[in-house]
Amino acid sequence: MTFKIAASPHTHQRRTTRQIMRLVYLALIPGVILQSVFFGWGVWFQLILALATAWLAEGLCMRLRGRPMWSAWRDHTAMVTAVLLAISIPALAPWWIIVIGTAFAVIVVKHVYGGVGQNLFNPAMAGYVVLLVSFPVQMTSWPAPTMLTEHSISVVDTINLIVSGYTSAGYNLEQLRTGIDGLTMATPLDSLRTDLGSQMTLAEATDKPIFTDFAGVGWQWINLAYLLGGLVLIKLRVISWHIPAGVLLGLGLPALLGAAFAPDQQIGPVLHLFSGATMLGAFFIATDPVTAATSNRGRLWFGLLIGALVYIIRTWGGYPDGVAFAVLLGNMMVPVIDKYTRPVVYGHRGHP
């Protein structure tokens, strides 16, 4: 008779990585659909390009490492990375942007460190930062939400823009973004950053068509959709509530203080929480089980740190949004956080 000898951990989750990743896909769906409603067909093409690149890069890496390719394709982690990266970049960015970013995320950030579960940094966000640092113009050229533009961009023109940079009528992205009245449509956070930086008050800065709703046309609904998806993930116990709560608190509290003491010079908490990549970052990106802190107390600190960093970068930093940088900096702090938040072993006393 043989006994099965299993290595730790002896307590485990019911789900396999594949099942968890599939749930993450499903939870992302409402946000992605809304994003494609507001930013056009480009979102879907970016997704296709990202998925194809991730699939190829993952296969190539497993081949080079002498491991079975199907095992990596089956667990879907690279595909989730690809989806997260594809929805983080502007919908009409040229095709090579997403290809370079995804390839870097999968090959350098994930496989060079040893593959699934071994990476120090969140692959999607590391890929995003590489793109943002390397191609600042393309990475900040968000198209205006479709209801604010005079003419919508057709499917064919979307493909033309992504592949060649020009529509069939010969307009490039910059001309389309500038529109007929000569006003460039910046993202809400970008526009606020510029205006507040030039000594306008918040009331003056938000007196633009993009701010007719409570946190920016389009962006607020996308954020609400990701919030919904995230809450479903918490309900299904795919992620714990600690990290998202930490991020939202870490961002919301300073924003509340800013609104209380300098209401005219600071972006308010509602705008902070429902604009940019806040909800996507809090529920889908910071919660990556590989690169986040491990204990519940540690996760709370990890989230708080990321939230506070997002606030700092948005308010005083050089970029309008800072989720990617905050997550990477948080990843670096994880070993320290884990060291100081190690749970006490049952039966032992805590730190004296």
Partner: protein
């Protein structure tokens, strides 16, 4: 003669200051955005290394052990000042583009490391040769890293070579491919770290294969069957 062969091997490959000892990374990562800058700093470091190794080796018996490090630093600083003034006089463009990293050669650990580890214990001819080989090893890594970063980040090679070599070298510039949007990351400091990591990985890979090849014949031991059936 065997000693010199060993020094060559150690300096260029087995104990390369940049790839194995990981010394002098600050200038290595900071100035290697183009081949020209890399070559300029590599040559300057090479000259300082040879000069300081010879001098340290010559004075090694007169320097009290307790104050040897300050003395070595003074010697190195002297050579760096000489090189700096020469570069200021003859290759002014390169002098400006390297900027603070010329005086910072003084703090390059590769140089004080060789003075302490080799030159202070060996006669001057060997020390000079050691400095030469370590310097070439260091410069080679600088040039390779500069080349990789310049190709990826700019699509060119030997951009600005005339700053180092004179006007005739302007024709050396090779445009490998035209890029509308350069991959800025390769030119920026993070790109240097990433590229350096890959170069070290490549070196380790080559060493790994060499080791395996060396091991191979030993494994094929065939044993004659001695027992009768």
């Amino acid at each position: 003669m065997n000693e010199y062969k060993e020094l060559t091997w150690q300096g260029l490959w087995a104990n390369n200051p940049a790839l194995v000892q990981l010394l002098g990374l600050c200038p290595l990562l900071a100035v290697t955005s183009t081949v020209t800058n890399a070559l300029g700093l590599g040559l300057a470091t090479l000259l300082v290394l040879v000069g300081s190794n010879i001098t340290v080796s010559l004075v090694r018996d007169w320097v009290p052990k307790e104050i040897r490090i300050p003395v070595f630093v003074m010697v190195i600083a002297t050579f760096v000042t000489v090189i700096q003034l020469l570069m200021n006089a003859y290759v002014y463009g390169l002098y400006q583009s390297l900027g603070i990293f010329i005086p910072l050669i003084v703090t390059n650990c590769a140089i004080i490391g060789r003075a302490e580890a080799y030159a202070s214990k060996n006669p001057w001819r060997r020390s000079a040769f050691d400095g030469l080989m370590m310097g070439i090893g260091f410069s080679a890594v600088l040039v390779v890293l500069g080349g990789v970063r310049e190709i990826i980040g700019n699509g060119s090679l030997f951009d600005g070579a005339e700053l180092l070599l004179g006007d005739w070298a302007a024709g050396l510039r090779v445009e490998l491919f035209a890029v509308d949007y350069p991959l800025l990351l390769a030119i920026l400091p993070p790109g240097a770290f990433i590229a350096m990591g890959f170069i070290i990985a490549l070196k380790n890979l080559i060493d790994h294969y060499r080791e395996q090849r060396a091991k191979q014949p030993a494994k094929q031991v065939t044993r004659a069957r001695v027992t009768a059936q």
